[in-house]
């Protein structure tokens, strides 16, 4: 019932296409974006909620990366 009336709106078919294009561009940009991020920055952000003292340890990094966590587990 709804769709019948919606389909009468002029140019309605272009809506999903616009959406798909906008989303695809945004998503692709975001992927490029996150992979160009600095690793040190990522490590700092990952550690932000944990109780680390960034001032004594400028990098502020408790766990450098996932492999370090793995090492810690193996210890």
């Amino acid at each position: 019932m709804l769709s019948e009336h919606i389909s009468r709106i002029e140019g309605i078919a272009v809506y999903p296409i616009i959406s798909l294009i906008v989303f695809s561009i945004l998503f692709a940009a975001a992927i490029v974006w996150v992979f160009r991020l600095d690793k040190k920055y990522l490590a700092r952000m990952e550690n932000l909620p944990l109780d680390t003292n960034f001032d004594n340890n400028p990098e502020g990094i408790k766990f450098q990366n996932n492999s370090e966590i793995k090492n810690e587990i193996e210890k």
């Binding site: 019932m1 709804l2 616009i18 975001a30 920055y41 490590a43 990952e46 909620p49 944990l50 793995k70």
Partner: protein, 708 residues
């Protein structure tokens, strides 16, 4: 570099926590009562204020806005200060926010049982309370942005992005969906009518779930799960993708299928693809949460906090997989209007929101009171009783939803409905409802374990009202990191970040909202459909007041099983004068879109007095007060005026003699009732309600009679 000393405000967190736990108990208790009312209809003890239709919205509002809302604020006020390394911007504003929000809850707790409601789901509160919500919500936003702006940490952690998106989107949703014309202090009419009102309401309803029950909780997950596991989040990259994809897709992918389903095939497929695509960011978030526990899974065994969080994140994953599945037309045809929806939302509510809340509470209280959790064992018991509660709740609801739906659709080999009496399908699922309320009881009992455990914990420690902290001030040029600058630039600018979030959300919003506003001019009016008479209009407001829409839909879908049972399927043009729409979302009782003239007046009179007089075994509550309460006709002129403002074609000056017509129609119905041996009085509520019920769908029936 000079280190600054300051303190975190724990007092406001404590207040929100106490409010959250208190309202969780109240909200769940009301939930339990309405669950039992579905098989013991007289549990309202004959009191109108605690009848199912009135307190069902009380339950949903209490658990969503009072319990979950207060947990969101407690969690945000705790984590925001710490990731921004600063105290909340303004303590007075924090207190204003807290007391304002509790005042809104109090207003809801009083007005909903009194039947003061707009009837739009999760937006039932009337216009004065809507205004209060807007003011208090803005005070929360001001405080949050103030805090972010005066932060000492340069970068804004991902949790805070989710908080910002929550604030921005809820503001938009609340404003758009609450546009209404007041008719006195406690009554208003939605400016939207019929199909348009339905579209706006479900754009709101779907996204309220997304941006009140999901995004703030994801923010909380990104802070509290790493804290509880003492591990950084699994992938910060994934969290960035998760955030942008989720806020972009959520706002319109969910209801997308509702809009475009009769477009050409390629467009339909595209719509389905978008709905299914939402699984990706949702599951990205779920996996990011679960993988944060890498190397810590052994700790899940003996750490009740992690147990709560793991079940919460898993429930999130299940509910966000189920959601897109329910948006497929073929699945929706079975699930819609049944208990399946109830099961789906409770996996999200009890599993995701409830369990994550409990994990956060068990984590925060010992920290804020500087002690250890009083009893791990008790917390473990709470975990198990809640988990079992969810199982005992959800499984019977899936079962009853599918069973009832299949019974509705079952034809005999001769081609007639196998269960033509709706009541038969209701009675079939009552055992499932009994088990469901047992599951709810288990979950409810768990709350007392939590309260006892947390109170004992607090007693063992000493509340740290202001927690001392120190950090270097934020210096603009201290950023030595070079690459990936755009996002870092952006997240150093919270206001621009919020604006970009708004734009992203609005792209999705526009895709749905533009057709919504265009549709008004695209609905052909049906000549036979006339505005409601004054008596019918008053009756409709009684229907709204009593919450009939909680259990009765007014929308016959174009399935043979429905047209056989109820009559001609519903047309958009039939609803053009419906401010607000009353399609409903659940058929606990039969659809009423075509109930007009199906039964004599006397049937409705006796049925409302005691439904079991007419339908033995019915689970509908009795409405004896409708027989004795006098209809307030002083509001009629104001209602007619408001409706005319909204475009309903009442003649000029009609408000001046509308009550004469009202009396005339009431006398006719009363006369008919008296002729049938009912000592009815013409000025009672029930007469108006009968007039409205007899009108439902009658226009189309007249039309068909003329054509024949």
């Amino acid at each position: 570099m000079q280190v600054e000393k300051f303190s975190y405000d724990n007092q406001i967190v404590k207040q929100f926590m106490i409010a959250a736990v208190t309202f969780a108990i109240v909200g769940m208790l009301v939930g339990l009562i309405i669950a039992v009312q579905l098989y013991v209809p007289d549990l309202n003890l004959g009191i109108q204020y605690i009848t199912y239709g009135r307190i069902r919205p009380l339950h949903t509002n209490a658990v969503i806005f009072a319990f979950v809302g207060n947990i969101i604020f407690a969690g945000i006020y705790y984590s925001l200060q710490r990731v921004c390394k600063t105290r909340m911007w303004n303590d007075n504003l924090s207190q204003f926010h807290f007391w304002g929000w509790q005042l809104i809850i109090l207003a809801a707790a009083i007005s909903l049982p009194l039947g003061i409601t707009t009837s739009k789901e999760y937006a039932e509160l009337e216009w004065p309370i809507d205004l209060m919500i807007a003011i208090v919500w803005l005070s929360f936003g001001a405080n949050m942005f103030g805090t972010i702006i005066k932060r000492r940490e340069k970068h804004i952690y991902v949790a805070v992005w989710f908080y910002i998106a929550t604030f921005v989107t809820i503001t938009v949703l609340h404003v758009v969906n609450s546009i209404e014309i007041p008719v006195g202090l406690f009554k208003s009419y939605s400016v939207y009518a019929g199909v348009q009102d339905a579209l706006v309401q479900w754009w709101y309803g779907h996204n309220a779930v997304a941006f009140f029950l999901t995004t703030p909780y994801l923010g909380l997950m990104y802070y509290f799960l790493p804290k509880a596991a003492n591990r950084p989040v699994y992938s910060y990259r994934l969290s960035i993708l998760h955030f942008w994809a989720l806020i972009f897709l959520y706002i319109w992918a969910g209801p997308h299928h509702l809009l475009y389903s009769a477009l050409p095939d390629w467009a339909q497929s595209l719509g389905t693809v978008f709905s299914i695509m939402l699984i990706a960011p949702s599951w990205g978030g779920m996996l990011n949460g679960l993988l944060t526990l890498r190397g810590a899974w052994d700790r899940v065994r003996d750490n009740p906090i992690l147990k709560f969080m793991v079940v919460a994140v898993t429930a999130y994953g299940m509910a966000t997989f189920e959601g897109p599945m329910l948006s497929l037309k073929s699945v929706n045809a079975i699930s819609h209007f049944t208990d399946w929806t109830i099961a789906h939302v409770h996996v999200g509510a009890l599993g995701w929101n409830g369990m994550l809340s409990f994990g956060i509470l068990y984590w925060m209280v010992p920290k804020m009171w500087g002690t250890e959790l009083y009893s791990k064992k008790l917390a473990n018991s709470h975990f198990w009783i809640s988990t079992l509660g969810i199982v005992f709740y959800a499984v019977p609801m899936y079962w009853s939803g599918i069973a009832q739906s299949l019974m509705w659709k079952q034809f005999t080999p001769l081609g007639v409905l196998q269960y033509p009496n709706f009541l038969e399908t209701t009675l079939q699922i009552i055992p499932m409802h009994i088990i469901r309320s047992f599951g709810g009881l288990l979950y409810f009992l768990g709350m007392f374990m939590l309260v006892y455990n947390l109170m004992k914990t607090a007693k063992n420690g000493k509340f740290i009202k202001n927690e001392d902290a120190e950090a270097a001030p934020y210096e603009k040029d201290s950023d030595k990191l070079k690459r990936g600058t755009i996002h870092r630039w952006l997240e150093k600018r919270p206001v621009k970040f919020a604006l970009l979030s708004l734009v992203v959300v609005l792209i999705g919003g526009l895709v749905e909202i533009v057709p919504t506003f265009l549709i008004k001019s695209n609905i052909p009016t049906i000549a036979a459909v006339k505005p409601y008479s004054p008596l019918e209009l008053q009756g409709r407001d009684i229907y709204i007041r009593e919450g009939c829409v909680s259990c009765h839909s007014q929308l016959v879908r174009p399935f043979r099983s429905e047209t056989e049972r109820y009559g001609e399927y519903s047309k958009a043009g039939e609803y053009v004068y419906d401010h607000p729409f009353l399609w409903g979302s659940k058929r606990t009782g039969p659809d009423l879109a075509r109930v007009g003239k199906k039964y004599p007046n006397v049937w409705h009179y006796l049925h409302l007095e005691d439904p079991r007089q007419m339908s033995p075994g019915s689970i509908m509550p009795r409405y004896p007060w409708l027989l004795t309460q006098t209809l307030d006709v002083s509001t009629t002129p104001a209602k007619i005026n408001a409706m005319r403002t909204l475009g309903v074609p009442y003649e000029k000056d009609y408000e001046n003699f509308a009550n004469q017509d009202l009396e005339k129609q009431a006398n006719e119905i009363t006369k008919d009732l008296i002729n049938n041996g009912i000592p009815a009085e013409s000025d009672k509520d029930i007469i108006a309600l009968i007039a409205y019920l007899q009108r439902l769908g009658a226009d189309i029936k007249v039309n068909q009679a003329i054509i024949k």
